[in-house]
Structure formats: C-alpha cells, structure tokens
C-alpha cells in the first residue's frame, strides 16, 4: 500500500469539500483497501465517511424506502422492511460476498465496487480501465468471466455486484451530493457502458458522494427470483445472475422487470424485453422468447460463449420460478 492521508469529517459538506480526483471516500473498505494493497488505486487521501450518519432505513409516504448509503449489506439484507417488501433485494445481497464482508460493506460502496477482471488487478498488465489508453489484454486473453453484452474494443469487464442487479430491477433511485448540490440518478443510468472511457464505471463526479438509495413502493413482492450461477455453491462472483420480478393477473403477465449480472459493464436491463413480456401468458415459450430477445446482440469472446446459453437458461428459469412464486 502506498502512503496516504486520512480524514474523518463530521458532516457531508465537509466530506465533499475534501474530495477531488486524487481522493477516495471510504466506508466498508472491502474492495478499496484490497485495491490499494495491490496498488491498483493510489489515493492521496482517504475520506472516512463512517461518521456521517446515513445509516437509517426510512419509510416513505408512498410505501417506498430510503436506505442510507452507510447501511451495511448485512443489515440491509436482514432488515424487516426489506425482507417484507423487497425480498428480491434481500436474496440478491445474501447471494453475494461472505457474512464478514457483508457486515463491513456499505450500501453506497456496493454500487462503487470495481470489476474483478484479472487484468485490472494485475498492475503488470495493460488495462484501459486502470491506465486509459494502455490496451485491453482480456479481449484476446483469458476472458471466461467477461462481458457478452454492451462491451467495447476498449473494455470487456463486468460489474461484480449482486445487490445492484436487484436494485436495477426494482427501479431504485440513487441520491448523490457534490459541490454543485444534490441530484437523483435513476439506477439504470447510474453505471456506464465502457465505450471509449472504461476508466469511468459510473456517472459520479469526483466530488460526488452517494448519500442514499430510494426504492419506489413495492410492486413485486409475490413474484420474484434472484438466480445466481457461479463456479461454486457459495462465495463466488456470478458468471450469470438474473433478477426477475413479475406482476401477474391470473396466467397473464401484467408487468415485468428483468436485470442480469455478470454479463456486462453494468447491471443489464432491457426495457424492450420487459415491454414484450407484458400482456403475454405465463409459459415456457414466453420466457424463452424474452431470453432470445434480450440476448439478440450478445457478442461472446474466445472463452465465454457458454455464457450466452447459460444466460438464456437462467432467464427462463428465473422467470418461471418468479411466476410460480418459487424462491428456493
């Protein structure tokens, strides 16, 4: 780890005032400290935000929730209101990391974790995300875990979060605050596709701090499923994951949400697929057609063609399980 300075401000405006392109906010530190040990990230100063409060889950008048950015992943997954109203989110969080890491990791930090692409972590390799313009060895190298959707010549990395896949499906809104004031960002717009600037994972400015995540009133309590496929039964990143949520009227789909993890630089949500599901009967054919549509532009790399079939089957399975209310 390179030397750095450390501050622990007592309020948000003080924290934001300290922030610039060379600093990093720290809360749980589960990813950032690791990246600093590997010299992948070398901040001049860490701004410890754990003294800012931001650790409440508040009910909103419409039945939604506002989750403080510093609520731990464990506390969020096991919060009674999350278990009751957003069980999909609870399932997704518990599918990720380990109990120790979930005790440390924060809600806001989960959004900001970096890709686990091997080349990003290996400071002996080029990487456009770590050193813009240096190249992408993953494109022609070991790319079994990499993206099949929305990648670019510059970067084929995936976003590693499970929680974010559920938040995308649940239409969450991210509240951020910076020197220019506060703003709200729809979850679908928060993370970026790599295009020609893979060094930017999301649209936050250097001085902007995630303060809360807002969930709209619950609509998918009865029919949902988070399905995670990985190389071992627990404590591994997703090869493919699917957050599926349905609103049914008898055997007909009234509304659908579908988000995928492990396949792209951001939680992958395709509103055309969701629109196509609405009004259709609950059936294998409906779900299979949705998977075909979602994966229509999939572009596998040398070693991850299996992800296309895997994602297809995972989408069908997750939607089927959601329709029957099964969450086993």
């Amino acid at each position: 780890m390179m030397p750095f300075n450390y501050s622990r401000p007592g309020d948000i405006s003080e924290a934001i005032k300290l922030a610039d392109a060379t600093t990093r906010f720290i809360a749980g530190g589960t990813n950032l400290v690791d990246l600093m040990k590997e010299n992948v990230v070398r901040p001049s100063r860490l701004i410890d935000i754990t003294g800012l409060g931001l650790n409440e889950v508040e009910e909103l008048p419409d039945g939604g929730l506002r989750i403080g950015a510093l609520v731990s992943n464990a506390d969020l997954a096991w919060h009674p209101l999350i278990e009751q109203r957003y069980p999909l989110l609870s399932q997704a969080i518990l599918a990720g990391a380990s109990p120790q890491l979930r005790n440390m990791a924060s809600t806001g930090g989960n959004l900001l974790q970096r890709t686990r692409c091997y080349y990003f972590y290996d400071t002996g390799s080029p990487c456009n995300k770590r050193e813009p313009g240096s190249g992408c060895p993953a494109r022609s190298g070991l790319n079994r875990i990499h993206a099949i959707l929305g990648a670019s010549d510059a970067c084929v990395a995936t976003h590693p979060s499970d929680m974010c896949v559920a938040l995308a499906a649940l239409d969450a809104v991210v509240h951020v605050q910076g020197k220019a004031g506060e703003r709200r960002i729809d979850f679908a717009d928060f993370h970026r596709l790599p295009a020609d600037a893979p060094e930017r994972d999301n649209q936050l400015a250097d001085d902007e701090l995630v303060t809360a995540i807002e969930l709209p009133a619950p609509r998918f309590v009865a029919h949902h499923r988070y399905l995670k496929i990985r190389d071992r039964a627990s404590y591994a990143f997703a090869l493919v994951s699917v957050a599926a949520a349905l609103k049914l009227d008898g055997g007909t789909i009234r509304d659908a949400r579908l988000a995928l993890g492990g396949v792209a630089h951001k939680p992958w949500r395709d509103k055309a697929v969701e629109a196509a599901l609405a009004g259709k009967p609950v059936s294998h054919e409906t779900f299979s057609a949705a998977a075909d549509l979602l994966l229509r532009d999939a572009q596998p790399l040398t070693h991850n063609a299996f992800k296309v079939r895997l994602a297809h089957r995972a989408i069908v399975r997750a939607l089927s399980d959601a329709a029957t209310g099964g969450n086993a």
């Binding site: 030397p3 720290i26 589960t30 400290v33 860490l46 380990s98 109990p99």
Partner: protein
C-alpha cells in the same frame, strides 16, 4: 507490505478496546487491524492467510459482528470494541464454540481455526442459521484447506445454541 511512516504522513491517535482491555496508540492510516493485532500487540491468534478478504483466517468481532481484519484499517476502529480468539475464553473455561471444535476434531493444521471459531461465534450472534445448510452457507467466508469442513459444521451445529451471548473477557456484550 506497509510503507514506512517516515514519509511525512501524520499519525492518528486511536483508542479502542481489545478483549476487554483499553488500548490507545498513534498509528499511520495504512495499518490494517490485522497487522496491528499481530505486529503491535503480539496477538498472533488472528491469522494472516490471503490478506485479501477471501479466506477468513483473520476474522475477528467488532462490536459483536464478524469482520475481516485484513481489509479493515485500524484507524477506522477508533472507539470500537474488538474481540479476537484470545478473548473468547474466560480465565478457567473455554468458550462453548472452542469446546465444540475440540470435541468434533474440527481442524487438522489449525491455521484457519481462530478465524473459523470467531466467525462461528459471529454466526451464532446473528441468529440466522436454523439448520446445517444455513451453517454451510453462512460459514462460506472461512476456507479450510485441510478440508475439515464436515467436522467444523458438526461443531458449529452443536455449539450454536450456546454461543450467541457474552464474548468472554469483557468483549462486546450481547
């Protein structure tokens, strides 16, 4: 490796409780809790395995919750109440989880054991494990390269109902 503190970065004064004893010291911000425990306090029960949060050998309890000490900056533990494996037993009695690990021969080389035991005590305090499958899933953050898993699960299962309360010598109380 930690950088040398001669680089002009200020030290930070922190104060916390480890196994019931108050500690105050000045540290550089890059010192991890794991290195602090082992190198500064000579409390080597907490082990360094991967040093990247993947193996769980460094698991300790902060305010009663299990965490990876290797990914925790000591400077961020100011005011915390820490319990390590050295703090689980009382003067003349092992913690129920320690007794169960011995009874079930839940280790071979023993290197992962302090982390396994601290993690299992944290698991008991969470109160979320209702069967063996839950125990397996909720102990997944602790690797055992000897492969003593089946005995570890048996030990945790037996000790679970007796392990959710006090944490030994004045550690975090339930």
């Amino acid at each position: 490796m930690s950088p040398s503190p001669s680089s002009g970065v200020e030290l930070h004064s922190i104060r916390f409780t480890v196994n019931g004893a108050q500690r105050t010291l000045d540290i550089p911000p890059w010192l991890t809790l794991l290195d602090l425990l082992r190198d500064e306090f000579d409390m080597t029960g907490t082990k360094k395995g991967c040093d990247h949060g993947q193996c769980g050998a460094c698991t300790v309890l902060r305010d009663g919750k299990r965490i990876n000490a290797c990914l925790t900056l000591a400077v961020m533990c100011d005011g915390a109440n820490l319990t390590t494996v050295e703090g689980l037993a009382t003067d003349d009695e092992l913690h129920p989880m320690q007794r169960a690990f011995i009874k079930h021969d839940a280790f071979q080389c023993g290197y992962c054991t302090p982390g396994q035991i601290c993690s299992a005590v944290g698991l008991a305090r969470e109160g979320r494990a209702n069967n063996r499958d839950d125990i397996k899933e909720l102990m997944s953050g602790n690797l055992c390269r000897c492969g003593a898993y089946s005995n570890i699960i048996a030990a945790v299962e037996e000790a679970l109902p007796h392990s959710g309360g006090d944490l030994g010598q004045g550690g975090a109380q339930s």
